[in-house]
Each structure stands twice: as structure tokens, then as C-alpha cells.
Amino acid sequence: MAEAARARPIPTPETQHFWDGTKAGELRLQRCDACAHTYFPPRPFCPSCGSRKVSVFPSSGKATLYSYVINHRPAAPGFTPPYAIAVVELEEGPRMMSNIIDCPQTPEALELDMKLEVAFDKLDDEITLPLFRPAKG
């Protein structure tokens, strides 16, 4: 029996650029051309001012750890507990949910505000997930 896989996103027309980006090794955000608001998750208009004039741009991939839980039970399919479910704050402002890799999944190792950098994890030919690891240096 195949191992249960983690939940796999299905892109929509409005989010396709994001998933194309992670596949290409870029963490893409959007910025409003009218009011300069930077936002996530993707949509073809600015959630701050309503303008439809928005641009896609690659983020630096730098982030800090905003908050998290270390999930023990029940575990999601494809995950071995305990594992951290984190919300990271990107250097450009928006926050996103992710996992922290290359780091013990413990309260001692996972310090709020620690510096992180994006790491791309290929799920299959279509989907690459943006994960984060402690920043080097």
C-alpha cells in the first residue's frame, strides 16, 4: 500500500503564477502598481485599494518565524509527528504558512523571530512547495 501523501494543492488561474514560480525556484509575491501594497495569497487585484493594476515579482525568500505549533496528534497524511506548522513573515511583509526544515522540531530550536530562508521542496512535476530553513550565517 502506498504511503499517504500530503495534501496537494490544485492551482487556479489566479494562483498559477505562484506555483510556476516555486517550480522555477522563485517565491513570487504581488505588488499593487497603484498603492504599492505587497500581498499574499495571490489574486489579480489589490486587497488594499481594489486596483486591478498589479505586478508579480520574486521575493528575497528571507523571512522570520512569526508563530507556530508543533503538531503531535492527529497527524496529517504524509507527516510524521511531531512536526511544526509555522507562519513565517516574509521580508516584504506578507505572511504565509509553511514548515521549517533542517531544524529540530522543538520549542528550544524554534525561536520566534529567528531568521529563515526559503527552500523549495518538489512534490511532483507540477507542484513545488515553499518551505523554510534557518538562515545561514
Binding site: 500530503r6 495534501a7 496537494r8 494543492p9 490544485i10 492551482p11 487556479t12 494562483t15 499574499f40 495569497p41 512569526y66 508563530s67 507556530y68 505549533v69 508543533i70 503538531n71 503531535h72 496528534r73 492527529p74 497527524a75 496529517a76 497524511p77 504524509g78 507527516f79 511531531p82 512536526y83 506548522i85 509555522a86 507562519v87 505572511r95 504565509m96 504558512m97 509553511s98 514548515n99 520549542p107 520566534l112 512534490l123 512547495l129
Partner: protein, 379 residues
């Protein structure tokens, strides 16, 4: 909305609470509804307005044999019933209907006749949260709390004391699921669920339901029960994605719904005799005390740890035992409303003597929605 124009004249929970494997979810709705209709001295045919969540209003209306002229299917999670009360009060005042039935029920434990909850993979949650291992409320709702604790200097022991205080209230309530006394140490030694939260900081999972009957305050005096008036109301939504909250230091939905209700009621915090804050998890009362303006966030943990919300404390909070110790079928808001109504009628198992104003504050989803109802027993 004008104050005290609408009253609760019927209120009841399902005949049994807890584990009810011999009833489907819609029958739990009906059991609660029939109890509330009887409490108000009515028949189903007297009801001309209906509101419910998760199950559809058409399902419940048809099952009960009701032909409504006003319908509300607002379904924003566990506080849906607070929003129903607000909408029903407006509808009654506007003359859209005279007598409204609001029902909740959930076969949360036994899962009999309960449709599965799922997050579609194409939704924004499905794309940007589900792939990272969220799996049910315990893995999502506590995500903001470490940030809240760091910002305000709240300790693990203080949050554990929420569960301890509520267990003291539950001990006075024959219908509470969990009545054995617990200590802060018991809470902090209970099984880890999703750090920093352990089993005793997470709500129960049970079966049950509740229903309310509302009518105009002018008609209320002709009903058999002591009327409980709607003094103020508020509601809002923020986001279905916990990761996308504006901040983890407060809930925007709480900060809109709560103050709106206080302003409408024309009361200040010192007027509040009794308080319910929906506690799916132990951090919610801290957010509620801060977001509703009872005190600075920094003081919320100490306030509870010092015993101010316990029996005999100056601000009785979650006096049925709450979602942590009374019951939690999945959408607890209805049970918080039921306890507020009991307190205002003066019939609660752990009655707050002389209580005249009760604030009932609800959450939906993971801080996704909020509704606040302020009740009084004086017109």
C-alpha cells in the same frame, strides 16, 4: 438596532448531551427545537422565521413542518448562532417575521448523519495551508498563541489556569461532561496535542444541540418564561485562513463584533455581571478579554490566574464550564448563548446572584468570524 425591542422567550438544549449514538444530526436539531418550542409554550406552526447553520434552513424547516416568511442560513462556524440572534432581532423589528426559531445541533462525537468537513484542494486554504500539515482545529487554532504570549508576556501557567477555573464552574453543573477538579500541573502534564497546547487546553468533542425562540419584547410578557432581552449585538468576519490574520496579537473580528455590541448596548465593562467567551481552546478567553476591551492584553493571563473569573471572582466567565469542560459538539456558540439565557432567567446551575447583564461572545472557524450578543433581564 434599538435596545430591548426583542427577547428570547424559549431556550433549550437537547434532552441529552454528550454521547448520543442513537440520534442523527437533524434529529438532534429537532430534539433541541421541540424542547425550545415547548419551553416557549408554542407549537411548530407558530414559528414563522428560521435560522440554522451547517444543516440548511430548508432541511430543518421541512423536518419540523415549519413554513417560514424569514430565513437565515448564515454559516460562519461556531458563532453562527450569535449572528442569527442579531439578524433575527433586526428581522423581528423590521416586521419580516414574529417568532423566530434558531437551531444548532451536531453529532460531533458519534458522527451520525453528519456530513464530512473537508477543505477543497483548489481553495486558498487547500493551496496555501493544507499542504503544510494542518489537520483539524487543534493543529490550526493554537497557531497564533506563541506570538500572543511573547508580545504580552503571558505564561504557559496562566493559560493553563483557564482550564482550571472553568473546571471549577463545571463541577457545579450536573450536565457538564468533565467535573473532576484539576490543577495547573494537571493541565501542563496532560498529553501534548499541538505545542504549546495539551489535552486539557483543547475543547471536548461531544454530541448535542440547542435552540432559541425570539419574539418582540412587547409580546414577550405573554410567554411563560421570564423574558431575556437583546440589549446589544455585533458581528464580523476576518479570514478563513488563520495564517492570514492581520496580526496574532488580537482578533480583528473580535475587535469589531465586541465593541459594536457594547456601543449598541450603551454599557461599559463595569456593568457586565456575567461573561461568556467561546473557548474552543484555552487562549480564547485571553483574546476575548483584551479584544472586548475589559483590560490590556498584558493583564489577561494574570487576571484569570489570580482567580477573578472563577466562582466567587469579580468577573464570572464561562459559568457552564465552557467548551473545555461543559460540552463542545463542534459549534459551541449555541451553548454559550444558552448559558447566558439561563443566567438572565436566574436558573443556571452555577447562578451568578443578581446578574442583570450578560455578554456572550463567540468565535467562528479559527478567528475567522465573530458574533457578540449582550443580554439583559431588565427592560
Amino acid at each position: 438596532m434599538r435596545r430591548n425591542q426583542v427577547a428570547v422567550v424559549g431556550a433549550a438544549e437537547t434532552t441529552k448531551l454528550g454521547v448520543i449514538p442513537d440520534m442523527s444530526q437533524i434529529q438532534l436539531h429537532a430534539d433541541a427545537a421541540l424542547n425550545a418550542i415547548a419551553d416557549a409554550g408554542l407549537k411548530p406552526s407558530d414559528i414563522d422565521g428560521i435560522a440554522t447553520a451547517v444543516e440548511t434552513p430548508q432541511q430543518i424547516a421541512h423536518y419540523l413542518g415549519i413554513t417560514p416568511t424569514w430565513v437565515d442560513g448564515t454559516s460562519v462556524g461556531g458563532c453562527s448562532f450569535m449572528l442569527h440572534v442579531r439578524h433575527a432581532a433586526a428581522a423581528i423589528e423590521a416586521g419580516l417575521c414574529k417568532t423566530v426559531l434558531i437551531t444548532h445541533a451536531e453529532s460531533g462525537k458519534s458522527m451520525i448523519g453528519k456530513p464530512p468537513r473537508s477543505i477543497p484542494a483548489y481553495s486558498l486554504q487547500g493551496q496555501f495551508e493544507a499542504p503544510f500539515g494542518v489537520y483539524g482545529p487543534p493543529s490550526m487554532f493554537p497557531i497564533p498563541v506563541l506570538r500572543f504570549m511573547k508580545t504580552y508576556g503571558i505564561t504557559h501557567e496562566q493559560i493553563a489556569s483557564v482550564a482550571v477555573a472553568q473546571r471549577e464552574w463545571a463541577a457545579k453543573n450536573p450536565r457538564a461532561m468533565m467535573k473532576a477538579p484539576i490543577t495547573v500541573e494537571d493541565v501542563l502534564n496532560s498529553r501534548m496535542i499541538a505545542y504549546p497546547f495539551r489535552l486539557l487546553q483543547c475543547c471536548l468533542v461531544t454530541d448535542g444541540g440547542g435552540a432559541l425562540i425570539l419574539t418582540s419584547a412587547d409580546r414577550a410578557k405573554d410567554f411563560p418564561q421570564k423574558p431575556v432581552y437583546i440589549l446589544g449585538t455585533g458581528e464580523s468576519v476576518e479570514t478563513p485562513m488563520v495564517s492570514q490574520m492581520e496580526t496574532f496579537n488580537s482578533s480583528r473580528a473580535f475587535k469589531v463584533a465586541g465593541p459594536t455590541a457594547f456601543k449598541e448596548a450603551g454599557i461599559s465593562h463595569k456593568d457586565v455581571d456575567h461573561l461568556m467567551i467561546y473557548d474552543a481552546f484555552a487562549h480564547l478567553p485571553l483574546y476575548g478579554l483584551g479584544d472586548l476591551g475589559f483590560m490590556p492584553y498584558e493583564e489577561t493571563g494574570k487576571f484569570i490566574a489570580d482567580g477573578n473569573t472563577r466562582p466567587g471572582g469579580k468577573l464570572p466567565l464561562n459559568t457552564n464550564g465552557g467548551g473545555l469542560s461543559y460540552m463542545h459538539s463542534g459549534m459551541y456558540g449555541m451553548y454559550a448563548l444558552q448559558e447566558s439565557v439561563r443566567q438572565m432567567r436566574g436558573i443556571a446551575p452555577a447562578q451568578v446572584e443578581g446578574a442583570k447583564i450578560s455578554v456572550c461572545h463567540g468565535v467562528g472557524g479559527m478567528f475567522a468570524a465573530s458574533g457578540t450578543i449582550i443580554f439583559t433581564n431588565e427592560r
